[in-house]
Amino acid sequence: MDEEPERAKRWEGGYERTWEVLKEDEFGSLKATVEEILFQSKRKRALESHGQVRLGMMRHLYVVIDSSRTMEDMDLRPNRLKATLKLMEAFVEEYFDQNPISQVGLITTKNKRAEKLTELAGNPKKHLAALKKARDAACVGEPSLYNSLNLAMQTLKHMPGHTSREIVVIFSSLTTCDPANIYELIKTLKSLKIRVSVIGLSAEVRVCTVLTRETGGTYHVCLDESHFKELLMFHVKPPPANAQSECSLIRMGRCAHVCFSQTLKHSQTHLDSTSEVGLSLGGYFCPQCHAKHTELPVECKICGLTLVSAPHLARSFHHLFPLEAFRETPLEELPADRFCHACQGKLKDKIVFTCPFCSGVFCTECDLFIHDSLHCCPSCINSQHSN
């Protein structure tokens, strides 16, 4: 279990002259170089694709947030905890946007204990409310990696085999206080096929390295706030599925929204919450038991059927048919006065992008927009031979 990969540590390599990357142009300004660096990092994100691999579409993810004493450090503004919670709100929204039929749960750890903030749920509202409330919590004591992983594992081990079970730990302390041997727990996690990834805020901790290596997750330590956001958003995309995970058929019901003008009914989801008025005019009815719900996707409380609507499933299609990266061509190779095929703007950048299938030419902004949000090439679908 303990074979270290052959990887040199940073201090073992030679000196790195990072200042040589920046070059001044003839006016002494660094703007071009900085833009080039930003542009390369944007492109790198767009180019990461898994290829022909099965993806885990239905995900059960627990996020463990360290709330120990070190989170009051002010190296991330205003302090680490508040910065983390703010990024987590953006993460939850983006996560449900990309994985509409998945679920997420939140756990915090402090004072050598672990506590569940929210249960695994498929709707973002509860998580966002809990994250807002957690901003006022105090950060005391030491975290306990063992307890938080154990708490997550108790729920995840009951999840069906065709879903992906993941834990993401945001760990800022350099110590952990565990009641038992954590290496045994790592073995158990590995046998249950739970993938644990860690985002460190302070420095690399060996036990996290072993944990992520054994369970097949990733471990990164953030450099600054934007890097932290990038690392967190990396977990939004569905990961490649485990080789042993089964594929099976899940029973689901499809609902359409129905509005009633006269009758008012209690919604099943509102019966549990005490802060809202429980009557609403429209809603979604379970096709099996006709219980009313206000939001989707949800598991019907009466009969247990998973309820989705067709757009939820359609949202995940672009993961199954990813768009290929466009080729870069310098502007000089094209005839003069060409226009971007998508936005009809004049091409001004030095580098333009060409679709390998239809040879449509696009500017930089359109290329980013197409790969991030649109997921289909506008000139390919404007030709008759598209499918």
Binding site: H162, R254, P287, L320, F369, N382, Q384
Partner: protein, 330 residues
Amino acid sequence: MASEDELNLLVIVMDVNPIWWGQQAQREPEFTLSKCLDAVMVMGNSHMAMTTTNRLAVISSHFQDSHFLYPCKNWTGGDGAWDGTMDEAPYCGDGKYELLSVANNVVAEEMKRVMSTTEMKGNSTDTLLAGSLAKALCYIHRMTKELEAGQEMKSRILVIKTAEDCARQYMNFMNVIFAAQKQNILIDACVLDSDSGLLQQACDITGGLYLKIPQKIALAQYLLWVFLPDLEQRPQLVLPPPVHVDYRAACFCHRNLIEIGYVCSVCLSSWGALSDPVHTGEWGGPRANLLHGLCLLTFILLMLGFLPGVQLVEGVFDVHHDGLVVILQT
């Protein structure tokens, strides 16, 4: 009173399928493409006349390609490339009239050019609506990036649809709809002939209005009444109620519309009954996604089977340990 810092961009996507318009000219000679274009330009002029900061763009959607009719300032012949920048007329009292007449002339000229120079290539006659919407979204994205500091822009897209839906565009259409929803862009739909399931879904997801017009001659009135007000004014008006959208999918095995069914966890295809032989075989690793992609694609084609008259393919899938065998039955 809108402030100077808030811009409203309206993009009108017009379906100019020549096959449908040709048949329409024979069915109802009093409502032709030129009358429809007149009504659309009345709507466009009214939009630009509401506030000085309103902007307009018009795209024509053909079965060959989508063209920007307006803005289109200089264009050179040949490949049709043109300068897409807006006219630099100042927004003062005199300039307003010129802007409207310039817009009308440019749209009329460009429409004539599009209809006369487009040749029939290939044999598909379905309007490329998804492509036009994608171009509209990219244009809106560029306009948003080109704003000065402190200005905000609200955009919406109005689709005027004539011909029938094309089932092959379902996937691209859904991608475009989700991209629009993410950017908070409304998609409104004004349907002249037959109901369109895709546009109903688009309006439902993005929060726009869907209307099937009972009398085509009164198009201008419907456009001005229903589609001219923007998002803030709509709750104060009595507008047509939202349409009930049928989100049920056709199952893979028997092509029945199902409410409760089984969804594959890998490729998200729907099945009606558990006794299908699909999942008794083993799925290969790296090819699994491709095979699932194939069955998903056919599923999508089958899914729109609830549209009248769309009979694409009936298939039974039989999976063995080494591959996917598709038995097509007609």
